[in-house]
Amino acid sequence: MGTRLAVIGLGWVQGLALAGLYIAVGRAVDAALGRAGAALAPIFALLIVLALVAALAAGLAPYLAARDQAADEARERLRVVAHVFELGAAQRSRARAGAIVSTATDGVERAAAYRGAFLGPMIASMTAPALVLIMMGALVDWPVAGITAIALPVIPLAMGGFQAAFAGVSRRYRENGRVFAAKFLDAIQGLPTLRLMNADRAHGRALAAAAEELRRHVMRLLAGNQLMLFVVDSLFSLAFIAGLAALALWRLGQGAISPGGALALVLCGTLLLDPLDRIGQFFYVGMGGIASAKEIKAFLAEAPAVPDPATTSDGQSSDAARPAPSPGSPPSPAVELAAVDFAYPDAPPVLTGFQLSVQTGEHVAIVGPSGVGKTTIAELIQGNLRPQGGQVRLFGADAARAPLAWQRAQMAVVAQHTYLFTGSLRDNLRVADAGASDERLMEALAQAGLAEFAADLPEGLDSAVGERGLALSGGQVQRLGIARAFLKDAPILLLDEPTAHVDLGAERAILAALERLGRDKTVIAISHRRATIGHADRVVEVGR
């Protein structure tokens, strides 16, 4: 905000310095034409000083704006990513994930450029003409400045006119363009399908026809509506050059101003044209920036599916929800779902009065066909979802009142997919334990059955994995997930079909590693496969 005010101030200084310069040029002309033998040297000294002041102001403004923009961008991105974490792991579509990434990158960039590099100079440019006119009035002629000031509202009017004329059209124009761009992307993504159906050429012809149709339509729209451009451009020139020159000639004829004064008025007129060049920019950068800022605001306003008691209520009461270790009393079950009701929005209930109690150290398998709510149970235990009725308790504590961080700390999860972050193998293991030594990481890999794999890597723990890293097999990735779970060393181990996507050989290795990992833990295994649950103490069937 401070920077923006400084930028606006600098814009005004630049405008006033240049107006001063043109008025001084007029004085110099008067002095020379008057042949009064007037000393021109001081005027030229003044001219040079004013030129340098204008230059300094012109240079300083973008420098300050760029600095502000960088800080703004970093701050906003941090807020967006932090909000991603606050919103939690609720299901979201791939398209939605893509949109969030684009908000946190392109969106944040555009909004910061708008606030930093655009808004200040824009405000300065729109307001400086008023100051220039005041200066013209004070130093040259009030009537000319006053009459010209009547045309000043042409600036906001032009903006409004543009808005009125273009908002509808340009929205339709952009929408049309977007629709076609989307159609084209759709065609590119669907090319394999089109090829396999021998439909690629026909679809290409249809695409070309649609593009041509769109072009004709849009050009017709533009032909009519861009006439506004003609009106506004002509108005500016008429008011601030032709009109100003006519007024100057009129006052000159009356002898009210000197020829140099008249020249000064005409030259200052060029400064009043400045907003004209900015209007186009406003609709280009400005609108994009405003849209992005709105998008960010809307995202930050989204409420998490599962509010965290640690942030929503005071820390004291949530501490109270945590069970005090009381060695004497009978131990509470490690995990308990008591009369749990759950339904996804606009869908029939998945769980109704569901009961589950898992004692510390017990190994329980939850089995059932797809679609009966097994994954919902896993999400409830992890705190990614909250039941609409009943309670989820961990070691006796109501999960709805305990901090999410505490709830998550109680369990290690190996799910169907393990996500690898861009970075080294070491980075990816340290996700689970930031301070772990290399020895401990190797031990975790050994526990997960990856000792040989790690030993064979030419760069060892420094090997890159993730998006641009090694191509690991599905089984290897799952075993990295197990190594992470080992490093986390939480009392509860939650397995959500960890072998759903691996081949038979890998499945055996994974099951062996899971057995080692689960030895002295409470284990809840969710599966529709017998093999995963061979060693369960108890099998809970869902949906029967």
Partner: protein
């Protein structure tokens, strides 16, 4: 790909101009109108400056002389507005034509490479090339060329006019000022700016990757209380970004400051030279008016240079995609070269209906996966003519790769895929794809209606044919429950349909093609058991007289297959009938043990 990466600017220019030939005329008009608008703008100020000092020269007659001058000024203002309007109109025309042409060119060049060339690449990268790079080339044509050309023409004309009207002396300061703003300041801080821009690009890439990881890996982040560390990791690339932005900002600041100084000092110099040269008052007014108005065309020249470099880089990336040779060579070579006029297709090869499909010791690794990570290894299997052959196995065992090889989406690295005893490469691709249809696990649906998506398979299909295919695939139920029926939109990537509904549409699409060989690639994996059973019953009627390959990991889907092949880790590990395989220990029995009980 590398050939296009190494195109010289000259070669790029030639290719871009060849692409842009149809827009040369409107582009020329746009330049012309821009020149007119800029010239009128300069003339306005110059004439006004001349008039106010000329009026004083013939004092007394001032009133009279003023009228034609004012009328001329008004006329110039209107000419300027009109030229601006026409320039913009032509610019939009150019933009649209170029964009459409580039996109269709991209599509036409990419089509022969699909499916392999499209599925194999990182689709995110491909889509970035399609959108950002194509847009950047468009911006170059539509919004860079005209300003760049007029930035040369108009200042030369201004200086020429000044020299002719006022003499070389008074023209000199203007010439120097314009040259400095147009040529010298764009170079100011260029090195720092280039380094800064590179820093900004690198940092943005890193940040985008980090954010993508955070969003996609949010479960892991939360599970391991990794949030704070994750957020802290942002600060290092953000610092790089800030340093880069500061460097480009500094260069920008230097240029703006320098330009402002030069423009102001040119007016001062013009005044000094004009006075020294003893110009008449009117001429002095003209000189000062010129100095105040002449700089508009040269401001922002540095943006053109940057725009040009970016356009070249983008064009290289686009051509790298469009120039790539298809991984699978069709019998008709010139199809790739000139798709505008469809070449006469190679004659279809006579084929038994239904045909037999045989894999002979086929080994295949996806490009980029490395030879040591083949997706299928020495696979031999036969889908007998008119029979139902099933391929089962865990996900990742190589089943779907066999489907891709069967349609010649890829060619095997070793071994052969034979249709009726002849290698697939002996058939024209068009024939092959008319004979073989695939219903995929995750089909691509286009953002159109259900009917249009279905009709892609056979544009001339009758309503009866659509109904038959739809009812066999149990798609009719989906159509009936929509208010708009067949006209119901499926949404972007089919998002308005459930996974199972999408699969049913893909099945109907495959059936409508009436292939002699039908491949169901996990085509019913997202249907619940009841619907799947219905679909399978419907299909049994539809696939009479066809060779059918069913790929599945759900074993219930293949109970009625004539023969079942079991795949694991890229190899065929077992073969037999359902009852036979289920009754003895082995991979099939292991898979069976994984199933729902």
């Amino acid at each position: 790909m590398s050939a296009a990466e190494e195109l010289t600017p000259r070669q790029l220019r030639r290719r871009l101009l060849a692409l842009a030939r149809p827009i040369m005329a409107p582009l020329g008009m746009s330049i012309l109108f821009r020149t007119a608008a800029l010239s009128a703008g300069i003339a306005l100020v110059a004439l006004a400056g001349w008039a106010v000092l000329a009026a004083r020269a013939d004092a007394g007659a001032g009133e009279l002389a003023a009228r034609p001058v004012i009328l001329t000024l008004v006329a110039l203002a209107l000419v300027k507005g009109l030229a601006r309007y026409l320039e913009q109109y032509c610019g939009h025309y150019v933009a649209f034509r170029v964009l459409a042409r580039l996109r269709l060119y991209f599509y036409d060049r990419l089509a022969p490479q699909a499916p392999a060339g499209v599925e194999g690449c990182d689709t995110g990268d491909l889509l970035a090339r399609v959108t950002k790079d194509v847009d950047r080339v468009e911006v170059f044509f539509a919004h860079t060329i005209a300003p760049a050309v007029t930035a040369v023409i108009v200042p030369l004309a201004s200086v020429g006019f000044a020299a002719a009207a006022l003499g070389p002396g008074p023209a000199a300061p203007l010439a120097v000022g314009l040259a400095l703003v147009g040529l010298a300041t764009p170079a100011l801080g260029r090195r720092g700016a280039a380094l800064g821009a590179a820093q900004v690009r690198a940092a943005r890439g890193q940040l985008a990757g980090h954010v993508r990881d955070s969003v996609q890996g949010v479960r892991e982040v939360l599970a391991f209380a990794y949030q704070d560390r994750r957020l802290a990791e942002l600060s290092s690339p953000e610092r790089t970004l800030a340093a880069g932005l500061a460097a480009t900002g500094r260069a920008n600041a230097e240029r703006r400051g320098a330009n402002a100084a030069i423009i102001a000092l040119t007016a001062v110099a013009e005044l000094a030279v004009g006075l020294a040269a003893g110009l008449s008052p009117a001429d002095l007014g003209l000189a000062l008016g010129l100095a105040a108005g002449a700089f508009a065309p040269v401001l922002g020249v540095e943006d053109f240079a940057a725009g040009l470099q970016q356009a070249y880089a983008s064009a290289r990336r686009v051509f790298a995609v469009t120039d790539a040779a298809p991984l699978v060579q069709d019998l008709v070579q010139d199809r790739v070269e000139d798709r505008v006029q469809d070449p006469a297709p190679a004659a279809p090869v006579p084929l038994a209906r239904p045909p037999e499909l045989r894999f002979e010791s086929v080994t295949f690794a996806y490009p980029g996966a490395g030879r040591d990570a083949p997706a299928v290894v020495e696979v031999s299997l036969t889908a007998a003519a008119g029979r139902v052959t099933a391929i089962v196995g865990a996900s990742g065992s190589g089943k779907s790769t066999l489907a891709a090889l069967a349609t010649r989406s890829w060619d095997p690295d070793a071994g052969a895929v034979l249709l009726d005893g002849r290698p697939l490469a002996d058939y024209p691709l068009d024939q092959l794809r008319d004979e073989i249809a695939v219903a995929a696990q995750r089909p691509h649906l286009f953002n159109m209606s259900i009917e249009d998506n279905l009709r892609l398979a056979r544009p001339g299909a009758t309503a009866g044919e659509l109904d038959r295919a739809a009812s066999a695939a149990q798609l009719s139920a989906v159509v009936d429950e929509r208010e708009d029926g067949w006209r119901a939109p499926v949404g972007e990537l089919g998002e308005l349909l459930s996974g199972g509904q999408r699969q049913r549409l893909a099945l109907a699409r495959a059936l409508l093609r009436e292939p002699s060989l039908l491949i169901l690639d996990e085509a019913t994996s997202q249907l619940d058991a009841g619907v799947e059973a219905q679909v399978l019953r419907g299909l049994e009627r539809a696939w009479r007289g066809k060779t059918v390959i069913v790929i599945a990991h759900r074993l219930a889907s293949v109970k009625n297959a004539d023969v079942i092949y079991v795949m694991d880790a890229g190899r065929v590990v077992q073969r037999g009938g359902y009852a036979e395989l289920a009754s003895r220990p082995g991979p099939f029995a292991d898979l069976l043990a994984r199933e729902d009980q």
